[in-house]
């Protein structure tokens, strides 16, 4: 396991690459011995790097209950991520972590869960969803509301249209922004669909996605009578060290890499709105 104080990474090996959408791939990473590089909790992140190209923080998309490997779903949108998309299985990268706090999965026990995600924002949420399914009896009803720009941009298709929908006491609600051929599901933005679904407001909510989506989702949840104390989200800021020193992810008195990335929505009220 990588020491949390260390800026020196471990070597990771990409053992599998799965194309999720035209610009998102999921990378399976293990250490040099073929084992999971380190244990993690839902919501935690890791620094992945290709020396000479760059290093960046990514949320771990696999559940802590997966003890064999970690998965990272990465959108090609910059120098490092574009480069990662060119790699083939067998390629080594560097990895350090885990960083950050986590979703309090134990606190969620026996609660009905509502997961809301947009686009690649499903990646950190998936870590909780699969944890909940691995411990299905510990949790109540599960609703997953997930939207993307188009049907082609939906990630984890096997899970959202297969594995998850087959779970008991579980509903997956998918939506895409605009009508599209061969799509007979819901069309419209996530916040609007949330209003239509009119969920009971006794659920614990985890919301993750583009900042603009989160903003309107929170407004919609407020209308439905959800309290901020029931809602968790993650923040995403530029990070370099991962241990609260380099100053980059500082918002108010918090460092997102160390005090976050998971925040309960009432905690955000005490922070400047710089996210």
């Amino acid at each position: 396991m990588c020491k949390p104080d260390s800026l020196i990474p471990l070597i990771g090996v990409i053992t599998d690459i799965k194309t999720e959408t035209p610009d998102v791939k999921t990378f399976t990473i293990v250490d040099k011995e073929g084992k999971k590089a380190f244990d993690h909790k839902s919501g935690q992140c890791a620094m992945i790097s290709v020396p000479g190209v760059g290093e960046a923080m990514f949320s771990i998309a696999s559940a802590p209950t997966n003890t064999k490997f970690m998965e990272f779903s990465i959108k090609a949108c910059g120098v490092l991520t574009d480069y990662l998309h060119t790699l083939e299985a067998g390629q080594q990268v560097t990895i350090r972590g885990p960083y950050g706090n986590s979703f309090p999965n134990d606190l969620f026990k026996n609660k009905d869960m509502l997961f809301i995600a947009g686009g690649i924002g499903l990646a950190p949420v998936r870590s909780v969803i699969n944890y909940v399914f691995d411990k299905r009896d510990d949790y109540g009803k599960v609703d997953i509301l997930y939207g993307a720009r188009s049907a082609d941009d939906l990630v984890f298709k096997e899970e959202i249209m297969g594995t998850w929908t087959a779970k008991e006491n579980t509903h997956v609600h998918l939506t895409i922004d605009r009508p599209q051929e061969n799509w007979d599901g819901h069309v419209g933005f996530v916040p609007a669909y949330l209003g239509e679904l009119n969920f009971k407001n006794d659920k614990t909510v985890i919301v993750c996605g583009p900042p603009i989506m989160i903003k309107f989702v929170l407004e919609e949840l407020d209308k439905l009578g959800f309290k901020k104390e029931q809602i968790y989200t993650t923040l995403e800021l530029r990070m370099k060290c991962g241990i609260g020193k380099c100053g980059r992810c500082n918002i108010g008195s918090k460092y997102v890499c160390k005090d976050g990335p998971v925040f309960r929505c009432d905690e955000l009220d005490d922070m400047p709105e710089e996210y």
């Binding site: 020491k3 949390p4 104080d5 260390s6 800026l7 020196i8 990474p9 070597i11 020396p51 000479g52 190209v53 760059g54 290093e55 949108c77 910059g78 991520t81 083939e88 067998g90 390629q91 080594q92 990268v93 560097t94 583009p210 900042p211 995403e236 800021l237 530029r238 370099k240 060290c241 241990i243 609260g244 020193k245 380099c246 100053g247 980059r248 500082n250 918002i251 108010g252 008195s253 005490d270 400047p272 710089e274 996210y275």
Partner: protein
């Protein structure tokens, strides 16, 4: 308390140089900075403030972390060794000593930064009382006493002598190394000098700078105050305040391809720069107003919030001297205090 002849300082430093690296204020051209004290170096302990603070020796402007080589799909990394050779910094002013304690509260808090910790463990600081505090000094605002500096050893220059008081075990060990230059001194002999320093401090222009208005839990009030609109206007985003600030602590991590290998290093960075928070999906601080506010909110509000109220400024006045548009933390403190008195 010991004393030695001021003229013996170069020989004393040379002797220390046999067992450790020695850094002292050295004059080059018109500028005095902490440098390697080597033969022929022009020692300058009369200049009050070095251009850069001695934070370089603990948080270097550039520090290599590891080197990486690739072969096919394989990567090998080799961590750079932590600092293991002792060193002494001679002649550090009280403000810069306090600055190290502030950096400690960041870099030595869990999870500890190992590179910094190794340098801190191997470093010995000899501080020097400020006989002539400067017009831009305001360390007393932060309860720093330049007449009796902290650190491993404290020193006072009085006429042709320099008085040395060991204040930690490291300081005591260092004094033993240079014992051949020392004779017994008495605390009474520095009292007059201390009184004179404190009288001068009371007459400085910023001696009455008050932190009222920054205390208490009003983070969001200070964040939202319209004062920032006015305050930031002349900021050029040059970042000089960050680089000369003894408590500024932000860094970047980058790679350098030497041709044969990639060296990953960290280097100082500034929250005043536009790309500091730039991400693929945008920037959380798009305007200079927001970046300017971040620097001062961090020093005056966020850092204290996490560190028992301790403000991340030591009143060294370097930013007052160096800002090309005469912006500085004194102006910000005064402006925020006015806001809160309204």
């Amino acid at each position: 308390m010991f004393k030695m002849a001021k003229k013996d300082i170069p020989n004393m430093l040379t002797l220390l140089g046999e067992s450790m690296d020695v850094y002292a204020p050295v004059k080059k051209g018109k500028l005095t900075n902490f440098e390697d004290f080597t033969e022929g170096a022009e020692l300058d302990i009369d200049t009050l403030k070095t251009v850069k603070s001695p934070k370089d020796f603990f948080l270097p402007q550039v520090e290599n972390l590891f080197s990486a080589t690739s072969q096919g799909k394989e990567i090998n990394i080799e961590a750079k060794a932590l600092r293991d050779k002792p060193f002494v910094i001679f002649g550090v002013r009280s403000c810069d000593v306090r600055a190290m304690e502030i950096l400690d509260s960041v870099y030595l808090s869990e999870p500890v930064d190992k590179f910094y910790e190794a340098r801190r463990e191997n470093g010995i600081i000899l501080s020097l009382a400020c006989n002539e505090p400067g017009q831009t000094c305001f360390c007393t605002t932060f309860n720093i006493d330049p007449a009796h500096p902290n650190a491993d050893g404290a020193m006072w220059v009085i006429n042709d002598n320099i008085y040395i008081e060991a204040r930690t075990e490291k300081g005591e060990n260092l004094v033993k190394l240079i014992s051949k230059f020392l004779q017994e001194g008495s605390k009474n002999e520095i009292v007059q000098s201390q009184t004179a320093i404190r009288e001068k401090l009371n007459k400085l222009p910023y001696s009455d700078l008050s932190l009222d208005g920054l205390e208490g839990n009003q983070l969001l009030d200070l964040f939202d105050t319209p004062q920032w609109e006015e305050l930031h206007k002349t900021c050029l985003a040059c970042g000089i305040c960050t680089f000369i600030c003894p408590t500024c602590q932000c860094y970047d991590i980058k790679d350098y391809d030497t041709g044969g290998e990639v060296v990953r290093y960290r280097c100082w960075d500034s929250c005043m720069y536009s790309d500091f928070t730039l991400m693929a999906h945008g920037n959380i601080r798009n305007s200079q107003k927001e970046r300017f506010r971040q620097r001062f909110m961090h020093k005056l509000v966020y850092h204290p919030d996490n560190n028992k109220g301790e403000i991340s400024c030591v009143g060294c006045g370097r930013c007052v001297n160096k800002c090309p548009s005469s912006l500085n933390i004194v102006k910000v403190i005064k402006s925020l205090a006015v806001k809160c008195n309204v």
